[in-house]
Subunit: 314 residues, 2 copies
């Protein structure tokens, strides 16, 4: 993998591992095995810091288990913010550790704002921040999920930071939840809102062209809406999809098949709960949670690759 | 003021102070006087922590200067996230300090997600988090700005947490930026997207009724679109407005007048840059930055009250 981590790097990693999936790290404390929590609480008490330390150990073990077969992680910012400052430190340490293990990091923050404020978010998650004469990387994402409701004023600052730092974004287009249609499916001159948002992704992506046909501006398209995936794949040929909703939310590999092009590229499928809580479903010893996560990751890979076929870079 | 901090409390605070404005704390390091930065950098180096400590001192001085005349602060999360974990600690400490000075805290995070993930954001910013047998408040907002693109699945978890903890939200409806119309102004059966979002606010607000006619679900409506403000004020009688765009973005007090009802209630107007950098505009000694902020806050209050008239609770 190149040292830089653009969307092209994600595609290369997917191809190398023949695996278009990403492990979502949305670590509820309930998911963390008791022995890890006990250890952290003994040392730090039943505190936000204790919770954050337990989650960090859980995440590191999962990354150790998964990094050879899964190309990327997707930490969900909300589950770190809920443990306050200590939780944000665990987010950083998780990103840093995944990167040290060669994984691509998609920070799921759904951030959105305008102008200089969006520049601040971009600097926080994808860029660098200058303090006096020194430069720092506040968080360590390779890509960030964002919400485009505010229009180009909210996306252009991101594009600028992506260009400077070779990073990517995924814009919410058609989300996986049941009520996503309340706004996203409404028709404007016969075209649904989500398709208009998708068209904007194609346009914004012209500023960040990729080597393999997909730009640095991806789209979040829920696995739970197979017809829309198929339709958007045709209409958005340069937009790479981040696909939530597989597994726990009810979508199957078959539902997602249409996201992929003739080269087996086109999207990356997320599983969070399925992987993190595999040890509960398997019923194995909780100390084998990382092994169970690995086995579930292989099962998911094989199931999805059954529909995708071989992945190759064009 | 009651001990609980619902949207009603915000209205009471506005009435008590006869001032429908909020001080936006979007502290770029450039805004912080050199003597404060020097002090922090001498102690902590030119580091993220040094920057975060400088910003905290800047914020505390502003809060000291403003709290007797301005009812609320609105810290913008992006400007804290950009200094990493240290920045998030400054966000917390700023919120805590403002609350100790009796100010209402609107966390401007524009958070959005679905289901349990949105619950995690709600717990982080408006609720409490349980670790073992202990409960903690990760951040200290009284209200949070949110993005409703994902529909009810993204808002209902917030409503639940708002009910349990007596908090409020402000949903992005018509934002103040030039490109807000790219999506928000598009017509669906003759009704623009922003109005549909506003109608959803009215509906969601039924779950959080207020004593003074306005619910716990507010709307962000930009001062830069005076016609839309007037129209939305009529169509959304139970939705309180958070109004950005005054001053630096070009809107005047006259543009905002239509946001207010016969009692002088209906919205709260934000100024960030105008207040934080008043000392630069005034050209006074940088050590008088808090005095300059106070003078600008009075000027803004008087200008807006000139159009609002007396504020009274119904």
């Amino acid at each position: 993998m190149d040292t830089k981590m653009s969307m092209d790097n994600l595609l290369r990693a997917i191809c190398e591992k023949q695996n278009p999936t990403v492990a979502g790290l949305d670590p509820k404390l309930d998911y963390v095995p008791q022995y890890i929590k006990d250890k952290a609480f003994n040392k730090y008490g039943e505190t936000l810091k204790g919770a954050a330390k337990a989650i960090l150990e859980f995440n590191k073990c999962l990354i150790d288990a998964l990094h050879e077969v899964v190309p990327a992680i997707k930490p969900q910012a909300a589950y770190y913010e809920m443990y306050g400052t200590a939780g944000m430190k665990t987010l950083y340490k998780t990103q840093e550790y995944a990167r040290s293990r060669g994984m691509y990091v998609i920070t799921d923050g759904k951030r959105n704002d305008i102008g200089t404020t969006m520049e601040a978010y971009a600097a926080a998650h994808l860029g660098k921040v200058k303090v006096g004469n020194e430069e720092y990387e506040p968080f360590m994402g390779d890509a960030l999920t964002v919400n485009g409701y505010l229009g180009s004023d909210g996306i252009n600052p991101l594009i600028k930071v992506c260009k400077e730092n070779d990073k990517g974004i995924f814009v919410l287009v058609k989300t996986s939840n049941p009520s996503s249609g309340e706004l996203q499916d409404l028709l404007i001159d016969g075209v649904p809102v989500y398709e208009r948002m998708g068209n904007m992704c194609e346009k914004w992506g012209e500023e960040l062209p990729g080597k393999y046909g997909y730009s640095g501006v991806g789209a979040v398209v829920g696995a739970t809406y197979p017809e829309q995936i198929a339709e958007l794949r045709k209409k958005l040929p340069h937009t790479f999809f981040l696909i939530p909703g597989y597994g726990a939310q009810g979508a199957t590999a078959k539902d997602i098949a249409a996201a992929f092009d003739a080269n087996g590229l086109g999207g990356i499928v997320n599983s969070s709960r399925g992987i993190m809580t595999a040890y509960k479903k398997e019923g194995c010893d909780e100390r084998d949670f990382a092994g169970a996560a690995f086995r579930e990751a292989l099962r998911m890979r094989d199931e999805i690759m059954g529909f995708v076929g071989k992945i190759q870079l064009p």
